[in-house]
């Protein structure tokens, strides 16, 4: 057990703390800004970093992250650029780094080559929104060879027998989608989250991180259940959309507000 994700959750567990996982789209609005935003977030004490690779058709995203993807493509950000970015971060930091990307980016790049590059750059896990467990096998062994976890998602629609299947296949943590729909901030989460947590916890001992729609401390604190981590994405991307190359300090401020 030497994947940084496992180590991180083990440590947080010992401290009785929850993981703060934050998301940024690489290259939005350019790679330099992304790097600075990431440095700020790390400085403010995030636990796990999730970097999105831009895609032409991010069909699991709401308008916020969809537009970030288009901005990053506008600045010609490629998968190779993202590896360079990860390498640069990894030089200075040991926190777990996850890539969020659509499966075609891996497939077209070449699965083998993609995993090799991940290993080289220091990627610890992959979040692939359009890859349900039915299709995960094609990537699994290549990823495992490079000690890279594929993080599975579960949704409120996922029934118990399927949760069990997914849990069995999972490693690192399980990405628990808080509500129906695509990514994006939500005023209110209507899913019965404590039931969702209990169903999951009854099935697996893996860390459970909740994502989709989380945007402020009050909301996170108010959530019932013993979640092991929280994933914040659109709220950060919105700040970047607003402030562009000036966003790093605003993002930093926002992260601080979540930690306070």
């Amino acid at each position: 057990m030497n994947n940084r994700i496992d180590l991180k959750f083990k440590k947080l567990n010992e401290l009785n703390k929850k993981a703060l996982i934050t998301f940024v789209t690489a290259g939005d609005p350019n790679l330099e800004t992304s790097y600075k935003v990431i440095e700020k977030m790390i400085a403010e004490g995030i636990d796990i970093l999730e970097i999105g690779i831009p895609f032409s058709d991010p069909l699991a995203e709401g308008p916020t992250i969809e537009k970030a993807s288009y901005r990053a493509l506008e600045s010609n950000t490629t998968t190779d650029d993202v590896f360079t970015l990860v390498k640069k971060i990894r030089k200075d930091y040991e926190l777990p780094i996850l890539l969020m990307l659509y499966v075609n980016l891996i497939y077209k790049y070449g699965i083998d080559k993609f995993m090799a590059k991940c290993g080289e750059a220091g990627v610890d896990g992959l979040i692939i929104p359009d890859l349900p467990i039915e299709e995960v096998q094609e990537l699994k062994s290549n990823a495992a060879n490079k000690n890279i976890y594929i993080i599975n998602l579960v949704a409120p629609t996922t029934k118990d027998d399927r949760l069990l299947m997914i849990a069995k296949e999972s490693e690192g943590f399980i990405y628990c989608v808080s509500s129906l729909g695509v990514t994006g901030e939500r005023k209110e989460i209507t899913t019965d989250l404590s039931d969702f947590y209990n169903r999951l916890r009854g099935i697996t001992n893996l860390p459970l991180a909740l994502g989709f729609g989380l945007s402020n401390k009050t909301q996170i604190d108010g959530l019932k259940g013993e979640w092991n981590g929280f994933i914040v994405g659109s709220a950060i991307v919105n700040i970047i959309a607003q402030y562009g190359i000036d966003s790093p300090s605003y993002v930093g401020e926002f992260i601080r507000s979540l930690k306070d």
């Binding site: 069909l59 497939y107 349900p132 039915e134 299709e135 629609t157 129906l180 695509v182």
Partner: protein, 394 residues
């Protein structure tokens, strides 16, 4: 049930949608075998879709070209004007059996949207259609038809504002309301079980052709030609003949301004294997896997992918695929109008063009069947505009 065609197909969708897909697959497996479902569908095919559609001997075209005998499978004479209604009837019946009350769908040319809105009206289902902004503009007639039928039409302006983006948006909407909504996919694309299911609801086309051609000619055709957007009308007419190796199967893709330009939608000619819209198949994409903007004057063929079964048939050499440009399609559009008094959908005109080209080279004792997938009323404005004719609706 096989989830793949060789290496193609699969189910590459967000987990949120998986239970829904599994439910649909289960329901499809269950009902499509039941005699009651079968007889209800048959009844709908006959009384609502106006099936069987005629197999029309294009005597003037045959005479003019001087080669193979040409038959047209007249899906343009179906209610709502294209083959799309076959699939809609099948899926809508399934959705009803599943107890669904809300339907969403994507549409390109608007034919699938019109067919879905039509049958949703008949079945008293709520209907929400997603359509690319550019398609909303070039197919305004169909937009109003859908609204008249009671459907809500959402214009999608993300991405390229065409069919692919309409699919993206429909998927997004589906994840929001997946508990009570049925996504009625319009072609043999998307995650399993859609490619299988849509094919099964469209294969009636080929089954009828077999019966009809045996009756009139006493033998199978030599060649079957169909245009390919997602590929449903093509699979629909091919499927029953796949086992008959002597029947050559030809799909025609949209070459837009030419496959040597950046403005085409010729997936097989210029695409590569990838994973998108829930399926592994052939796509037009860049070296990193980004989906490329595509172009065709025909809204129904303006799609960067192709159904996985086509990718498979191509990979094993059972079907061939050829590109036809906008300009060639317009030649065929006008040719068929003047020659047989049939205005074809601009999509179908692609197939007609290829038949014009091929028939000349074939002996007079050979037989070609072309799938005339839809009628061209929806396209006359656009063709007029393309040709520089001023049309003012007042």
């Amino acid at each position: 049930m096989d989830r793949k065609f060789g290496e193609f197909g699969g189910q590459y969708v967000p987990e949120t949608l998986m239970e829904a897909l599994l439910d649909i697959e289960k329901a499809f497996l269950k009902y499509s075998k039941e005699p009651e479902f079968k007889s209800e569908l048959k009844e709908l095919y006959e009384n609502v879709a106006n099936r069987p559609s005629k197999l029309y001997y294009a005597s003037e075209m045959t005479k003019d070209l001087g080669g193979a005998k040409i038959y047209l499978k007249r899906e343009d004479l179906n209610h709502t004007g294209s083959h799309k209604i076959n699939n809609v009837l099948g899926q809508m019946l399934l959705a009803k059996k599943m107890g669904k009350k809300k339907i969403i769908c994507e549409t390109g040319a608007g034919q699938h949207g019109v067919a879905t809105a039509t049958i949703a009206a008949l079945f008293k289902m709520e209907c929400h259609v997603f359509m690319g902004k550019e398609d909303v503009e070039r197919q305004a007639l169909n937009v109003f038809r859908m609204e008249l039928l009671g459907a809500k039409v959402t214009s999608v302006d993300s991405g390229t504002g065409t069919l692919k983006d309409a699919v993206n948006e429909a998927f997004r909407q589906w994840t929001r309301e997946v508990d009570d909504t049925y996504y009625l996919m319009g072609s043999v694309v998307g995650p399993h079980p859609y490619p299988v299911m849509v094919r099964d609801f469209q294969k009636i086309i080929g089954e009828e052709v077999r019966e009809q051609i045996l009756l009139t000619e006493g033998r199978l055709p030599d060649t079957i030609i169909a245009c390919v957007g997602g590929g449903s009308n093509a699979i629909g007419i091919f499927h029953d003949f796949i086992k008959d190796e002597q029947v050559s199967l030809i799909g025609v893709e949209a070459a837009g301004q030419g496959i040597e330009t950046d403005f085409h939608a010729a997936t097989i000619s210029k695409g590569s294997t990838g994973i998108f819209h829930g399926m592994k198949s052939k796509f037009l994409q860049d070296e990193y896997g980004k989906i490329m903007p595509v172009y065709s004057m025909s809204a129904g063929l303006d799609y960067p992918g192709i159904g996985p079964e086509h990718a498979y048939l191509y990979s094993i050499g059972r079907a061939s695929y050829f590109p036809v440009t906008d300009e060639e399609a317009i030649v065929a559009f006008e040719y068929l109008s003047r020659m047989e008094g049939i205005i074809p959908a601009i999509e179908s005109a692609h197939a007609i063009y290829y038949a014009m080209h091929l028939a000349k080279k074939m002996d007079k004792d050979k037989i070609i069947v072309v799938n005339l997938s839809g009628r061209g009323d929806k396209d006359v404005y656009q063709v007029a505009k393309f040709k520089g004719v001023e049309i003012n609706e007042q």
